[in-house]
């Protein structure tokens, strides 16, 4: 179930996938600094981030900050990119800086909704969730005030919806997004795809598909970036409901818009593997590697597809490339939890289970808080569970899956692993229920 951007980020980021992409899309709508050059760097940062070039994107946001050091959005975007490159420490510094800026903004204007919203994001990212909740509730109050004065303010409805999502008030969020769509907001397509994403997360797939289609209809052909984003999210939704063939078409449409999109190639490669079209899948992985030879997940996917088509020697070479990249990333930053996790997964594919377990352990050790984007804890526990199960250490494996589920209970692979471990321990009824849940969550071999 590893796809594109998700694959690139590793499994733990799977749940963050649509929201991350959406976060980028939403940031475009945020108010920007007046200074033209800072705006230029900011836009460049968003573009690079959207393409998956996180380090370059972080550099661009850094430039924007140099020219406009008072812009909270730039700091939040920088922090996000730093998280994605596995640099939690520098990310925390950026979040802290953003937090300080929001405090300044709020001193000037205590009902500045956007400042409250940004403060919520910064606090949440710094694992200060209780304060984050309070800040977001203040943002809701401020938006309510704005909307009472001007109920036709589409942008405020949209932002209100964003805050409501972060407060888990999903039904109200959907209504607020709908209001922004009804008022022809410029990001109406993003509003609709977010509705789709919310419905998908609650298993309401048919409605989610309808909303994703609406998102495409609301996004003009000229807005290539949003259309690609919508197509990718629609593709993952289609995969989740088992419509791999139709998902493939969505990724192909995405590639028609930009044949150099790494994430579209990764998604396409992954779905082709699920369809057992391994030759085409290896081709797509190779295309992604051509665009970014340092993408360890592409090498890993390529290895899997080659292995499935019986080309074991080539598969091993691909795994070795993935391993080399992960090891280099670890050398660059020994606290890069994602790199440790990628190393573990690669070693596991190579059948080196004990070494894999050690890498997964290291990943858990160096991971930041489990809610952080940079955390690889869930994926590492899952990988550890798989490795332990392969070694027949069923009790320990069960415990590892439990840990993964505790962090991210929507992971079908973790429930499937738990089911297998329980069955191996002779607990058939419990095992059967865990496997059933895995299927409900979209598990596929």
């Amino acid at each position: 179930m590893t796809t594109g951007m998700q694959g690139r980020l590793g499994k733990s980021a799977r749940f963050a996938f649509p929201s991350l992409l959406l976060a980028l899309a939403v940031l475009c709508a945020s108010s920007l600094a007046e200074e033209n050059t800072a705006v230029g760097w900011y836009k460049k940062g968003l573009e690079l981030g959207g393409n998956g070039s996180f380090e370059e994107s972080a550099q661009a946001f850094g430039q924007a900050i140099k020219l406009d050091p008072e812009n909270t959005s730039s700091y939040l975007s920088l922090a996000l990119m730093l998280e994605l490159t596995g640099d939690r420490r520098r990310a925390e510094t950026a979040y802290q800086e953003a937090l300080n800026l929001t405090k300044k903004d709020l001193q000037k204007n205590p009902v500045d909704a956007e400042a409250w919203w940004n403060q919520g994001v910064a606090l949440d990212s710094l694992s200060r969730q209780t304060e984050a909740k309070e800040a977001r509730e203040r943002a809701v109050l401020a938006y309510n005030q704005t909307l009472a004065g001007n109920p036709k303010d589409a942008a405020s409805w949209f932002h209100m919806a964003e805050v409501l999502v972060s407060l888990n008030r999903q039904d109200e969020a959907i209504q607020a997004y709908e209001r922004s769509i009804g008022l022809n907001y410029s990001k109406a397509g993003i509003a609709a795809i977010t509705i789709s994403n919310l419905l998908q997360s609650r298993g309401r797939y048919a409605e989610a598909l309808s909303a994703s289609d609406q998102a495409l209809n609301l996004t003009p052909a000229s807005n290539v970036q949003d259309r690609m984003l919508i197509l990718e999210i629609r593709g993952t939704l289609l995969e989740e409901v088992g419509r791999q063939e139709v998902a493939l078409q969505a990724y192909d449409q995405c590639l028609q818009l930009d044949s150099n999109s790494e994430s579209c190639w990764m998604n396409k490669a992954s779905v082709l593997s699920h369809l057992h079209r391994y030759n085409e899948s290896t081709g797509a992985y190779r295309k992604a590697i051509e665009l970014d030879p340092e993408m360890s997940n592409a090498w890993l996917g390529l290895g899997g597809a080659l292995n499935a088509s019986g080309e074991e020697a080539d598969a091993l070479a691909a795994y070795q490339s993935a391993l080399k990249i992960a090891e280099q990333q670890i050398l660059d930053n020994p606290e890069n939890a994602r790199a440790w996790e990628a190393k573990g997964r690669t070693l596991q594919k190579m059948g080196r289970y004990q070494d894999a377990i050690e890498a997964f352990n290291r990943s858990v050790e160096v991971s930041g808080p489990v809610v952080a984007v940079s955390s690889a804890s869930e994926a590492a526990w899952l990988g550890k569970g798989d490795a332990l199960l392969a070694l027949g250490k069923n009790e320990e494996s069960l415990e590892a899956y439990r840990q993964a589920i505790e962090i991210y209970p929507l992971d079908p692979d973790a429930w499937h692993g738990k089911g297998e471990a329980l069955q191996a321990l002779g607990k058939r009824i419990e095992g059967d229920m865990a496997l059933q849940l895995a299927e409900r969550l979209g598990y596929r071999e």
Binding site: D171, I174, S201, Y205, N217, P409, M433, A434
Partner: protein, 531 residues
């Protein structure tokens, strides 16, 4: 559906063992008992099985029958005693003949009933080994294939059981053909291969002679249940599948108007479709067939409550209480709690409290007789919680957990869930979280536990984790009753309603059709370009 499946398999296993019965009269009593189970008349079934046991006390099949029907009535201690009796009998048989495959199968079923899973699996595997030997020597022996399939299915090795049943079908064993198709259909459902499952049900329906209305009715009823389960997954064409399920139950009730479960399932399906009048008609018919059947009234009451027709559920609960009388106190207590809930929902708070008090009195009386009755402790905890006597409720749940049977049951899960709810209400959020986790560990498919965990996480300020658990609760069927209907919002607001329909059809249609839909605009464009 799951319980139905397990029950069906166990029933099949038990019926297959019953072939050993020589006395015609005892066998007749057994058949009578199963007919009563089909009618949900569990007391009558128990009487019939007791008659059979009286005639042949050494026949383990009758003890299985007894254990099964006692379990259906939640009389766990008596059920365990019956399984123990059956186990002793099968062990004696195996001492005499260690190659007696049917005895191994019976032993496996008895051990499963006693919660001794590993030993149960070993016994079933022994049976499979013996049948494999037989099949090695006589590959055309359909009976050996049949029993091999049964044992593999009991071992939940569904992928392996499937070819065994397919072999029975290929060998065209007329005696088992219908059951082999039905078993195949059921296994395919277990493997979530619903479309294939429906086809297998259709084959079973073809095999059953038109004159055999009773079996045809049952097959239609089972197919309806399969359609209903597929619909409940909510992925594609939910309403269409549910309508098909309704039609299947309707067909079943036409073929055998005495089939109570066809009427009840039809009522449920109609309720889910929002067809209130049809639902009421179906439930009324079920209760008319046997107005004194307490199980039918239970289903009717809980269905009406579930679909929030509280006022109509009240007389149904009252009828259960009337029918339960003094003799069936557990059912009466359950009905008092249901009645209390319904009264509460309709704003009759003081009457609701009185109903909960009644339930509490009955549970207390039961606990005076047997202080280790886990089920009574659980129900007592629920009644106390509703009466807002939270400390006592927690103590009762603790007792339920401490006295829960050693084998797998829902009591532990429900008691942890109840504890979680009480702890949440009393502001003990960390403990509530732990209680919900324990509940989820036992049964991860209960949306109430995930919703409870969500609330506890929210209270603890762990909003990110709460968003995941809320999603999971939603996927498992939790719906916020107070929330607006976002689907309606989208439809009302969207200018692209027709487009939505296309998207829906496209995602749920077969790949070929979907491809056509996707390609159509392109084809249309090139035509236009050509012009």
């Amino acid at each position: 559906m799951k319980a139905w499946f397990s029950a069906a398999l166990l029933a099949a296993a038990m019926l297959s063992c019953s072939g050993a019965a020589q006395e015609k009269t005892a066998s007749d009593w057994e058949k009578e008992g199963w007919a009563q189970i089909d009618n949900a008349s569990y007391e009558k079934a128990l009487d019939a099985f007791s008659q059979a046991i009286g005639m042949q006390p050494d026949n383990e099949s009758f003890w299985f029958d007894r254990a099964f029907v006692l379990a259906l009535q939640d009389r766990q201690n008596e059920s365990v005693a019956a399984y123990n009796m059956a186990l002793n009998l099968t062990e004696n048989k195996l001492k005499r003949d260690p190659q007696d495959a049917l005895a191994w199968q019976s032993k496996s079923v008895a051990l499963a009933g006693l919660g001794r899973r590993e030993e149960s699996s070993e016994a079933a595997e022994n049976a499979v080994r013996i049948y494999d030997q037989e099949i090695g020597e006589h590959p055309e022996n359909a009976t050996a294939w049949w029993y091999k399939g049964e044992n593999l299915a009991n071992l939940q090795r569904f992928e392996e059981a499937l070819p065994a049943y397919e072999k029975v079908i290929a060998l065209n064993d007329s005696k088992r053909l219908k059951d082999a198709w039905l078993s195949k259909a059921t296994l395919l459902m277990q493997l979530s291969r619903y479309d294939e499952s429906f086809l297998a049900f259709d084959e079973a329906l073809k095999v059953i002679p038109a004159s055999d209305a009773k079996n045809l009715s049952q097959a239609w009823q089972w197919k309806g249940s399969a359609l209903e389960e597929a619909a409940s997954l909510g992925q594609c064409d939910e309403t269409g599948k549910l309508e098909e399920a309704y039609q299947a139950f309707h067909k079943s009730s036409q073929l055998n108007p005495q089939n109570i479960w066809a009427w009840i399932n039809m009522g449920w399906a109609a309720e889910k479709l929002g067809w209130s009048e049809k639902a009421a008609y179906a439930f009324d018919n079920a209760t008319l067939i046997d107005p004194a059947n307490i199980q039918v009234w239970r289903s009717k009451a809980s269905a009406l409550f579930h679909v929030q027709r509280y006022n109509e559920s009240i007389p149904a609960y009252e009828r259960i209480i009337e029918l339960a009388g003094e003799g069936k106190s557990a059912l009466a207590a359950e009905a008092w709690q249901g009645l209390g809930d319904a009264l509460n929902e309709t704003g009759r708070r003081s009457e609701a409290m009185a109903a909960y008090e009644k339930a509490l009195q009955i549970e207390d009386a039961a606990l005076t007789i047997n202080a280790t009755d886990a089920s009574a402790w659980l129900n007592k905890g629920d009644a106390l919680q509703k009466l807002e006597r939270y400390d006592s409720a927690l103590q009762a749940y603790d007792e339920a957990i401490a006295n829960a049977p050693p084998y797998w049951s829902t009591i532990g899960e429900s008691a942890w869930l109840g504890s979680g709810d009480v702890l949440l209400k009393t502001g003990q959020y960390e403990d509530a979280l732990e209680a919900y986790n324990r509940s989820i560990d036992l049964i991860p498919l209960d949306e109430r536990a995930w919703k409870g965990k969500t609330d506890a996480l929210q209270k603890l300020g762990r909003a990110d984790e709460a968003s995941f658990t809320l999603s999971l609760a939603g996927i498992l069927g939790y719906k916020d009753r107070n929330a607006a209907n976002p689907k309606a919002d989208i439809q009302a607001n969207s200018t692209a309603h027709a487009v939505m329909e296309v998207a829906y059809a496209e995602a749920c249609s077969d790949p070929v059709a979907a491809t056509k839909t996707e390609k159509e605009p392109e084809a249309a464009r090139s035509q236009k370009d050509g012009e």
